[in-house]
Symmetry: D2
């Protein structure tokens, strides 16, 4: 094992950190006021994106970025510290066009789209000129087992006809969202993992209805607002098929590794942001004649947060490095480990932050509720913990010895 | 120890259960649609209240209810199972006029108000003709130590002049709220616990501004919406002083015992409601070829919820019985034990419910988010756990022996 | 629900408490020295038993005690506080002949033995003139599923021939143990739960070998030392069959309810004993210039122990009361709840006690290691938690509604 | 951050792994029989040590090993995987002379001893010709605050006179132990951290009495048996002072970094060893008609163990690398993080192993009790978790902003 950050990387991290400090963080309150309170689009995001692009801080989360595509190609490991910086703010990743669901959608289009599809759907995303959404989860089935998905996609001449319901289509309720990538059944007679295909469905196609915007644990994500959709005889050209028919699941895999790792990196950023506030608050507040920070319960919360953050950050870096170097079965196990471990850490940190902040910690004045919700969501998003734990379990080798002949076990008279 | 539910009580519990089943639960979806989605007042609440009153299901949570006051006087223990029934719905307790903050406010007025004050402020509450709020917490200080409270109340002739900021005034943002009971400093030179007094401040008094409605962990409580207030030279008659000047804290104690117990009882109702949904969901859903309920992880979640619910329910009953029979120091300890234990239980149950329900469990379609937030709030509301744990610790007797002469410790050669 | 301790019971509890304080606790150090260090039998136990018997403090744990049997019949609920007192010392229950495995063995003999068997095996136990052991668990199979048991019992004329291995036969390694009650297969062709029978096997029968004494997590139980046995063509008269052939499991059920409840009650006694030492220690020790008790982490450990102890004690009382009044399916569920909840509590308390005591808490000078081991054992003894959790789960009713028509769930446009 | 294992290191790890597999593991049962059951010294250890030395597998845990000292110098990072291999067996580290307390004692002698002292005390240790013990902890004071230590060391001419009590002197009860390094007060009038000095006290010095051998949570460590000592007017030459007078604490620091890291590495080895047995057992056993491994609770235990082990291993490697490269304040923080995190992991893994193994898991047939005890001890040994958490807390920087001007906090109308 040997992972390191070279000099080049140090430079871009510093550049990102400075950009964050000077161009982004000072505008957070404006963002909250515009977006959260007034529920209007934050006009300054476009400005920030323009500046970031000019500084080479663009599309940093796409290791497969082609030479003729805009942005700077970084490895997953190199992107890790930047994802963490951006993760401190709910809207941070948008500044460098490194946010979900755009990044995994772009990665998928890079891998699967035809030249025409790239021209039409990928390029605008690479330039942040539009938004997109991935519509997989369905309200009627347990989507933790993706083969449960039931939306039907039928071929009718040179058209595809879609019928079904989708929800938790992240970003699908964004006013600028222009298309969905819909997973559905094209081949119901095929084997369990060969039935599904992906289709690009433009917003505005007749029969496609945004039923409502969803909240998760009270958090309405203004960055990638969650949509519930109804698809009733939605017709698109057959050329809107993305990737190989019946290979939908395989195709969608490309989303998952980096997506999970990026979420995890952002969790680290959130945890650091919350921890800093815990420390500040603990030093400021007084109860019963002494500063809160003098209570060793509070000291312990802070120290345990530090331990959990540092262990998880390092492990995420390792996972990123493995994704960069050998995206094999062993790497998937490590990604699953990250997926289970990191949100637990963030949920624990934020739960204690609420306890430390009291009522204020539950308001939307702080980002604690946001971070808590992100953590809670991540424990079920991209596959619930239970599924990842089962995957991890399955990779655990069975020893060659049985208990009876295990050399570590020594009954008397053996 | 000897607590029992007699026959009379059985009857009223059955009556409440039937009323809930026939008059309340069927209207929950209407309530959600009217209140949560359309953000309009639910007109049917008044009808339900009228019916409940007619059936003697009224003001059941006031053990000190006088003979000439409307409603049925029940002991805390007798009220426990009814509080649990009502707790299943966010708005349930309103049906019998047993909701917070009205109940603790009424209890306080019963104990402290002058006849004139009772006439003017208590009676309308007893008849659910108005709403009220208790304004104690302040944004600028750690309110877990109530002596930190800084709002100033100055005497100016026969008027009181209030200046300060209050937030987390539950119910204060309700459109029908007609007065606040404000805790503030009248005697800054007095001893640490003799500085504060309570004053009744009618909504509409010049200088009193509702700054905003607050959410907690994303939950906007449509039942008792939380207000943040600014008080700038707010003048009320000196007769609006509630209780004895400088005895504000002592006076407010009357709120706390029953309030905490009622919250805890409601938590049991919520936990049962969520658990039933977990069981139903687990039997319905299938992943990877088998019903979710066949996973023993899920079985364990359900069984552990059952254990935690039953232990807490029984202990709450004991606390209620003690409050009824001997509200002494020992009883306060038991109330604190309930206060710490029960929300932890509910938070654990609801966290697992989210995991079991997946994305749906985080939406507002279910009441899981509501229950989770209630639990999370209760861990800091009415005194954070840490303060209650310290109180419990302080009541723990120090043994007469030292470690050196402890008869249970036997070093060799003793 | 209505459980109370009447005056009679108060008196016997006081008598037991006084006996404990004057006759037992002062001899604990002697017991440790004699038994633990010198590994000799504690001669004073017989004296204490004689005195206790004279004071009517005898066989208090046998609710089915017949009129002509020695001792005082108490209900499970009435015995609870006494079991707790005795539980403070590892050998405490022996003083009143209320210890395991004798109590469940006596209960089983009361229920199943023939008059001759009672004369020969039960009476000496009732008078503490001998010791016994129940041999069920086997090293070669997972005994959490009792139907795995493989020891063979074959009928050969008017003799029974036993072959097999048994371990964790509690008390079987005691020098005064005179017989085992062995569970084995008599009817391998019968249904899964109708294959097993119980047989009384006297120590000394040819072919029966005590292989070794076992420790559990380093604890060698000097009160009921654990035996591992080999049975090779062990022959006993057919009259040694205990109960009905093929009904071994059903017969053994009689052991389980009270046994688990008694263990749980003892756990409460141990937890109180350890907690008192934690409090004493915390007040005595100083680090970094202040008394340990001033650290709120320590205060929290103490307070949380108090909460957990009190919740569990109350719930155990309820379980005892239910066993006394209606030993039905619902009662078994409650016993399982106790079985899961109480040892978790004790393990948590003792783990924190070690942390508070430091190195000393791990030595055998204190009883912390004993209590910790008892808790740890109880989580697998008498059925592992996982089996009890499954039983609890199975009793959870499935709601009549589905998620789709659940009245608590309100999707938009319902 | 950039840590890697180079080729040289790979080779020695493979050599160690092979030596473990062929020369060590096959003799474990012999070791158990000889040492644990018969309580005799394991003669083969000397043979193994001789072979290991011949293969260059000697003194690998001493980064400061001088050129003329026997063995192979490895960095802390390079030693990590070898410590893990050896940690699988309680006696494993002895094979390469890499066990506690010898390693930290040797490191301390390397740093502080005079040439004469090295000749007399260090060289025999480097060649495994004798054993030693570090006597710091005292029964009468809270040693988590080392300044509490009270053993007096007085100068009398050219002799030092020691009086006091020491316990938990690891290895002090080993029959081959030839000297203690005793920490005591030489300068009671000096500042709080300048009062203590260390003195070498040979076993056999008049006045030095081994009071008893101690067990911890039932584990009698046959590798480095724990001694309790009484020192009554123990006289040694003044030349036995180790290091600078009054600088005892500072001198002893040298023990701590590597000692803690080595313990942590061994914990990883133990956890892997236990996990492998859990996996084997889960595949073998059947209950209620299915293999235990089919229960997802068991799968989850295994997967969570894998996550916790891998996160901790990686973080330990980082800590080792930091110790090698920059043993500054930041590194100490990381060592403290390891010290808190790793034993928690091992305790959790072993607790679940007991649950999975049932009764057998608590016997001394497996090494689960050993591993559990090691974890439990490590949570208080080398400083209790609470002290390390406080140290970690203290290094956490306070943000420059206050909560009021925190850029991440956005109240309305800001």
């Amino acid at each position: 094992m040997n992972f390191n950050f070279d000099k080049d990387n140090e430079e871009i991290v510093l550049r990102a950190e400075e950009f964050f400090a000077t161009e982004m963080l000072p505008r957070h309150r404006e963002w909250v006021e515009t977006v959260c309170h007034d529920r209007k689009p934050p006009l300054f995001i476009k400005d920030i994106q323009e500046k970031a692009k000019g500084l080479g801080l663009w599309n940093l989360a796409l290791p497969e970025l082609a030479k003729d595509e805009p942005g700077t190609r970084l490895s997953n490991l190199a992107f890790a510290p930047i994802a963490e910086i951006l993760g401190r703010l709910p809207w941070g990743s948008m500044a460098f066009n490194c946010h979900a669901p755009e990044v995994p959608n772009m990665a998928m289009l890079q891998a699967l789209a035809t030249p025409d599809q790239k021209e039409k759907w990928l390029n605008p995303l690479l330039n942040a000129e539009t938004r997109s959404s991935f519509a997989m989860t369905e309200p009627d089935v347990a989507s933790s087992d993706a083969t449960n998905i039931r939306t039907r996609i039928e071929v009718d001449g040179d058209e595809l006809v879609l019928n079904g319901r989708k929800w938790f289509a992240t970003g699908g309720a964004h006013p600028e969202c222009s298309f969905l990538i819909v997973m559905g059944v094209t081949d119901p007679e095929a084997g369990r993992t060969a039935q599904h295909s992906m289709v690009i469905v433009p917003i505005g196609t007749p029969g496609l209805t945004l039923v409502r915007e969803l909240r998760f644990m009270g958090w309405a994500d203004f960055v990638a607002p969650i949509g519930e959709f109804r698809l009733e005889n939605v017709r698109v050209p057959a050329t809107n098929l993305l990737g190989v028919r019946g290979q939908g699941f395989k195709g969608a895999q490309v989303r998952l590794g980096p997506a999970r790792i990026h979420h995890a990196m952002r969790c680290i950023g959130m945890a650091e942001m919350v921890l800093a506030q815990m420390v500040a608050r603990a030093h400021e507040r007084k109860t019963f004649g002494r500063s809160i920070v003098e209570y060793d319960t509070v000291q312990k919360w802070i120290a345990e947060a530090r331990i959990d953050i540092d262990l998880n950050r390092l492990f995420i870096q390792k996972a990123a490095w493995m994704l960069d170097n050998s995206p094999d079965k062993n790497t998937w196990r490590v990604v699953s480990q990250v997926k289970v471990s990191t949100p637990r850490m963030l949920q624990k940190v934020t739960d204690r932050a609420v306890q430390l902040f009291g009522a204020m910690g539950g308001t939307d004045d702080t980002l604690i509720h946001h971070a808590h919700t992100y953590a809670r969501w991540f424990r079920i998003g991209d596959g619930p913990d239970e599924v990842h734990l089962r995957q991890i379990f399955k990779t655990e080798p069975v020893p060659e010895w049985t208990i009876a002949d295990c050399p570590y076990i020594a009954p008397p008279g053996f």
